[in-house]
Amino acid sequence: MHRLIILILFFSWVSYPVSLDAGPIDYFDITRPKFKPLPVVIRMNPANHLQGLYVQSVFQSNLEQTLFFRVYEENSLPESLIKGNEPPAFTMNLQILEQNPLKFRFELFGREQETALASGELKEDEKTDLRKLGLQMANTFIKNSLGFRGIAQSRIAYTSQKKNGRKNIMLSSYDGTHQQRFSYNLGSNNYASWAFDNQNLLYTTFTRSKVQVAIQPSKRLRASILSFPEGTQPQGGTWSPRGDSILITLMTKGNSDIYNYHLKTRKLDRIIAWKSLETSPSWSKDASSIVFVSDSVRFQQPQIYIHDTKTKKTRRITFRGKYNSSPRWSPDGTQIIYEGKRKGYFQIFKYTLSTNRHLQLTFGRFNSEKPDWSPNGKQIVFSSNRDGLSKLFLTSVHGGRMIRLTTNPKSVIETNPVWSK
């Protein structure tokens, strides 16, 4: 019997390697590459045209703000591009056609391609200044190179507070070069929210006597105030996708619940009314689900839940950490970003609904809070006290480098950023 086993094993040894030589090979999965921005070369003719240079600088700063690209002028190419080891991913050619008003032609080429990916003519007029030309060019570039929406013309609303001053809602351009005060009432204003059509902004006004919700058109400086029943105190709200209602958190007798406020009928529908505190509601884009925060499991240990408005079922999605809050739906409704407290510091996390995977996007011994998505879902804006006081930063949805958004003085606190849709 032993001899039989020995013989079987022996012949299996002999036949095993022989059979593999003709068979398949090993395959290894490599899934962790290093990030590298795509090199873009910009050529302008004539190279030193003053107005053209301004348009080019706007184009360049907005393109690099996306973190996808690194733009080089033709006369300042790095060695790797000069030697031809690595041809630029894209080349943008600008040909100045006219001056005063400026008119130029642009052509976008891919790597080693002879036909242009995009081309066209842009002209300065009364409505379109040179800066807008640069922003348009950046959006066109992104749309035609990577295939998604450019966000150079989007805006970010946030709460700004000078030292010992009141809180105000501010608007910032995408590249942070243009700041504009938005709220002018005498109260302290906070918790801004963009309507899905970007026409209106909603924010909460705190005065000494009461708390109100203000709705203000994004292009006007006059707000309309929403009033609520006595004994209830609004604590911020967000717009519904259709813009006809707002989800609002109302505090009643020490308990905060979530309501849907219909703007036309002025009726309140109770959505979530648990015995615990429920806050920070946010609609998904298709208005089928609401994500919110509740400390129903343990007091003062908020966790994030998703409520299905059709089935009326609610499920919890965060289980790690004692403090998870500020959830926001991604524009396509497939992911949620939120802040979570880990080892004493708030960090930004991304949750994917299809995989139930939580990915930490920020790290470090400082707080990163109140995240919100960019309109194309490729970036995140959040506030961080990395440099001392809280400031606004951008990062990609995959994490990585943090870019400071604004250039306000150090004494100004910037919190609660919300990106236009």
Partner: protein, 330 residues
């Protein structure tokens, strides 16, 4: 009647009980330290024993394989330093069988010992020993000592020269049966070893060795070894994947918009044992020009990969890599 104790005494009883158990464990542990059980059994292999001529009869008594042989007939008396048997005892798989003697029709016994070879070489190999006919052939008819004369070949004489010993006609019966020999052969570990002088790589066929040290023995011819591609075993594969992951995290760069994508470029690479790339090609494109470019740029700039695990026996290794930029590193 139940025992009523004040409530504070219950934990005291538990603590007291735990204490006693602890003391008991300490005693057991100290005993264990003082007299540890043998962790390894010492095995003796008869092959490693060199038996002096005077010891052989006594030692052989203890060997199970010769237990059936009467003492007075075990050994043929020989002069020290004269016979191959005495000097090559170490090499023998077994010491039980004296130099093979067969009776020819003329009443002569031929000993098949050749100069310059061990008796083990002279003996038939394993298969032959356990074959019925061969064993019958080599089983000696026991010869009375006083009637046996033997002449041993001197070094330098012809290897093919045979000893010729004249003996009287044998009338004695065999001392042990064929079944005994077969049974002893099975139970005797050293009997089952391969011939060490074989050209092939030695393969232990002992069942115990097979089970404790299972390892693929490659029996391919030497000249084909360099041409063959072998696969890593699971441990080697795991270790090498770690090396590759670490390596490509440093060298493979992709643009941001490809992060978390499920696009995959499949590459086939052939390397030598030190990791030098001999050949590489993109086997399957991802369909995305940027991802394909990132991989082709990587392959273009690479000259070597992490070296193969030391335990890998081949000289080349051909394998595939699936590049999927799922988790971007910043």
């Amino acid at each position: 009647m139940m025992l009523q104790l004040p409530i504070w005494r219950y934990p005291a009883v538990v603590i007291f009980s735990l204490g006693l158990h602890g003391i008991l464990l300490l005693i057991i542990f100290s005993e264990y330290r003082r007299n540890p059980p043998p962790s390894q059994i010492e095995w003796f292999d008869l092959r490693e024993m060199t038996l002096s001529p005077t010891e052989i009869p006594e030692k052989s008594q203890s060997a199970s394989a010769i237990s059936a042989v009467p003492k007075k007939q075990e050994m043929v008396p020989q002069e020290e330093g004269k016979t191959e048997f005495q000097t090559k005892t170490k090499e023998l798989p077994t010491v039980i069988i004296p130099p093979a003697k067969t009776q020819n029709p003329e009443g002569k016994i031929e000993t098949m010992v050749e100069v310059g070879k061990t008796e083990a070489n002279a003996l038939p190999n394993k298969e032959e020993q356990i074959t019925l006919e061969n064993v019958r052939t080599f089983l000696p008819v026991m010869i009375p000592e006083q009637e046996l004369t033997e002449r041993v070949l001197e070094p330098g004489s012809s290897p093919s020269q045979l000893e010729e010993i004249t003996i009287p006609e044998i009338t004695s019966k065999p001392v042990f049966s064929l079944d005994d020999v077969l049974q002893d052969t099975r139970s005797f570990r050293s009997q089952t070893d391969w011939d060490e002088n074989s050209e092939e790589q030695k393969v232990s066929s002992s069942l115990g060795d097979l089970l404790t040290g299972i390892r693929m023995i490659r029996l391919s011819a030497k000249e084909n070894k360099e041409q063959q591609n072998m696969r890593l075993d699971s441990l080697e594969s795991e270790a090498y994947l770690q090396d590759l992951n670490h390596f490509f995290t440093q060298h493979w760069e992709v643009p941001l918009h490809l992060a978390e994508s499920e696009l995959t470029v499949v590459v086939r690479i052939r390397i030598d044992k030190e990791g030098r790339i001999q050949k590489s090609k993109i086997e399957t494109s991802s369909g995305n020009a940027e991802l394909d470019h990132s991989v082709s740029r990587l392959l273009k700039n690479l000259q070597s990969l992490p070296s193969l695990p030391y335990s890998y026996l081949g000289h080349i290794y051909e394998f595939g890599i699936k590049f999927t930029p799922r988790d971007l590193q910043f």
